[in-house]
């Protein structure tokens, strides 16, 4: 197995029950007015989208009707929204290298950078698919822990009050 894929799978498996250190750092990242809530919302959304993107790309790269070079390039470009490839090939952000600077998910940024560089070096569909699946799994676990930080119920109740909506139904 590609070393970065193995590291991502092992880290993701560990995070099934272990809270990533990145989560504590993310909770300390304050936004425009010293608020953390929007940092969490944006990080959660970015990782949710990235899980879906990695899933779709690992499906695509397994099929001959998707051009190999295009799938790899799109994957690297998508990942650059979180962190640039660790080969110095992309100094300027296409959209923004957000994982570290915006969300303070430093380990995620490092793993993404190394995985992105490995994708560019990969020569077979199977190797690319393995790295994409490993990223999908790892992002899914980090996303789960961001999800668990967020007080969905309490905010849903408060939001309904603020917006004049009906109160959320109680649990059965």
């Amino acid at each position: 197995m590609n070393p970065i894929a193995q590291e991502l799978f092992e880290t993701g498996d560990r995070y099934l029950m272990e809270r990533p250190e990145d989560i504590a750092a993310m909770r300390s990242r304050m936004g425009t007015r010293g608020q953390n809530m929007t940092v969490q919302i944006y990080a959660f959304s970015a990782l949710g989208s990235s899980v879906d993107a990695m899933y779709l790309l690992q499906e695509a790269v397994a099929k001959d009707d998707y051009d190999f070079d295009t799938v790899v390039k799109f994957a690297v470009d998508w990942l650059s929204t979180l962190a640039p490839p660790a080969d110095g090939s992309q100094g300027a952000a296409i959209i923004g290298h957000r994982a570290s600077v915006h969300y303070r998910l430093d380990q995620l940024a490092d793993l993404t950078s190394r995985a992105s560089a490995a994708l560019k070096q990969a020569t077979t569909r199977a190797e690319v698919r393995e790295i994409l699946q490993a990223l999908e799994h790892y992002y899914n676990q980090v996303r789960t822990w961001i999800d668990l930080e967020f007080p969905w119920h309490e905010l849903a109740v408060k939001y309904a009050e603020l917006m004049g909506d009906p109160a959320p139904r109680p649990a059965p």
Binding site: F9, G12, D13, L16, M17, V51, D52, Y55, L56, Q133, A134, E136, H137, N140, Q141, T144, D147, L148, W152, H153, A171, P172
Partner: protein, 135 residues
Amino acid sequence: MKKLKLTVAFDDGDYVVYAKLHYDRAPNLIAAIEKVVPFSNPVRHARICESEWMLSTPYLGVEDENFSYPDPGDISLHRAGPHFCGWYERISPIGTTDIFASVASEDLEEYRKKMGRAWEHPGAKMTVDIVEVDA
């Protein structure tokens, strides 16, 4: 007979429920799950799909085997991620899903009350296993 065993470590004690495995509908998925159990993850509640709990899983890497609409008690795999989905009340489905197990109808009332807690109190440790039980 083998069944799916779910153990949820709530603050006031463990809740255990068994679900029938649908070997006829999802044999490859069940085989993949058998390779990774037991595993645990904090259980969460869906925010859009109505009465549904969610649980992130180890990577399973399987293809869809059935495209089904869930009934109360059904448990399925959402492949992107992936995560398990468990429905504890009747819902208006927003799409099909790969159902592989179902909680028995006689257990649904307690299951509904217990799993509904995940909305207000997410994060309880759920352990998934496949065990041999008397039929």
